[in-house]
Point group: C2
């Protein structure tokens, strides 16, 4: 097993900097688009053989140092019976507003809600020679989808709920944190080697209740590293690895977490090779020579990313950091 | 003239903290909705008597310490002949991609492009007994609309252009900065007492060229204070007043600018009176007793904001800060 990624997550010395890219499985790959012609997105996330195949595609093509489970952030909610339509962004049939809505989250069991996802992990563990990253949505980001009911720029309904009824807000976030922990631990049990917590909208969070540190404690207690992904201002989360976006300097993240992943802007992959090379070298220089660096982007790959840019990136990071 | 606002913008002592609210003219007001039933949004921004009336509505109702010109951030571009449809968000008919597109911005003259807006300012100066804030879009935020062609969450096309062809990106931002300066100065000449620069998407900007300091220099040279509005991480802009959102502590902003406006979350106005009162007192406590504070929100008022919450806010700020 190639353990560069796990060593970097623990701040141990490595012979070269490991690299994987957020949304490395997806629409920019011709082999993914070929699969999508025959199956819709939900089917790809739900059928274990298909989800495993999509997860493996970028590993085969580029030799990334980690694979990330192909699933949607709302997969466990859908599996638990919350009605969500993908049109193509998620639309929640009955947005959450009350204490009764929070009750709909009780009794979550990953084994019952998402057996296909756990089976996908078991298949992948037989196929992969690199670590597998499982993932969960962070409580606040899940709440954004449940309360606003769809993707928006600033999730006003969710924020209004937290101001209007802070007690209800706390119950909702705690229930989602319990669900996220159960889901994360089931993934670890099935074989996931690390868990990334996606808090895509965390930077919009008002100052109140943030159950993230407790979630990361539970992931660490399960024996695997926890990685936070929360674009915007770096914040204390208790994760082993902090992901940073293209607007956050490494130094700001190192104050909170010794181990850092990120920050190349995915849109930099649209630059011509010379300019992209400069950008990648700049990230490596800023990250420094020490341990605890996982090369990654500051956000997911864009669907129109040129495949050649990804090839250049993987080759260059290996050349520049091989020791 | 009530000059509390202008004094606070200059960091001079005031007898109480001035207050105005971003998007204080708009859909949450019954009198605005009544006007909108008879006229579409573009007509309201274009007819001087109507735009002046909309600007005055919240001053009459709440007695705010400053008025802000009712116009759209894209008004000068539309006036200059760039085709934009409001559906209801702006959609640019021919998104900018090339050097020829940048040429479309040349020869901008506010007198020719937006005579109605300048006339609106002249009408308002006869009617108002509080300062009038003019405003312009920041170069990067205007570029986001022109290049991506519509509102998105992360404006990938704009960022891709800046990476793909940094020289073209610089030309585009400089041309927009020239246009913004010309438009701001024409507003000052027509009577605007301050200029707020809206950089709503500035936090997405890659690290390259930022022509904001030059723009604020030109506003200051025209003899009025410049206010920056750039949600996200506080950044050096050269403005006299920094607006901060609900996620940014006053202390972080004071490091960059002595004078600060913001940061109550507009969604806090959905809280019941006791909780809202606590929130407002917390902002006042954090801002401190010293000069250089303009009470405002961290983002524009939401269209469903209860009018009573705005009344409570204005009354409470006066009571708590009157000296």
């Amino acid at each position: 097993l190639n353990d560069l990624f796990l060593k970097a997550c623990r701040g141990e010395p490595v012979v070269r900097t490991p690299v994987w890219l957020m949304r490395q499985a997806g629409r920019y790959l011709p082999e993914y688009r070929a699969l999508r012609e025959r199956h819709d997105f939900l089917t790809l996330t739900r059928k274990p053989e298909l989800a495993a195949e999509v997860t493996l595609q970028p590993i085969r093509r580029f030799g990334f140092d980690a694979a990330i489970l192909f699933a949607d952030i709302l997969t466990p909610l859908v599996g638990h019976g919350i009605e969500v339509e993908f049109a193509p962004g998620p639309v929640v049939a009955k947005p959450f507003r009350t204490r009764e809505d929070v009750e709909r989250l009780r009794g979550f069991s990953a084994e019952k809600a998402v057996p296909e996802t756990l089976e996908t992990i078991r298949i992948l563990k037989r196929e992969l020679d690199v670590p597998l990253i499982g993932f969960v949505g962070a409580p606040f980001t899940l709440a954004c989808y449940l309360v606003d009911g769809k993707g928006t720029k600033t999730f006003p309904e969710t924020r209004a709920l937290l101001y209007r009824d802070p007690g209800l807000g706390r119950e909702l976030l705690d229930a989602l944190a319990d669900m996220a922990a159960d889901y994360a631990l089931a993934q670890v049990e099935a074989g996931a080697d690390a868990i990334q917590v996606f808090d895509s909208w965390g930077d919009l969070h008002p100052d109140s209740h943030r159950p993230l540190p407790g979630l990361f404690d539970r992931i660490r207690a399960a024996g695997v590293p926890g990685i936070s992904y929360a674009p915007g201002r770096p914040r204390e989360t208790g994760a082993d690895v902090a992901s940073i976006d293209w607007r956050t300097p490494f130094a700001a993240a190192r104050e909170l977490s010794m181990n850092v992943q990120g920050n190349l802007d995915p849109m930099a992959l649209f630059a011509p090779p010379e300019l992209l090379t400069e950008r990648i070298r700049a990230v490596l220089a800023e990250a420094g020579d020490g341990p605890g660096h996982v090369f990654n982007l500051g956000h997911g790959l864009h669907k129109d990313t040129p495949v050649e840019s990804v090839e250049l990136l993987v080759r260059l990071v290996a050349e520049e950091t091989g020791r």
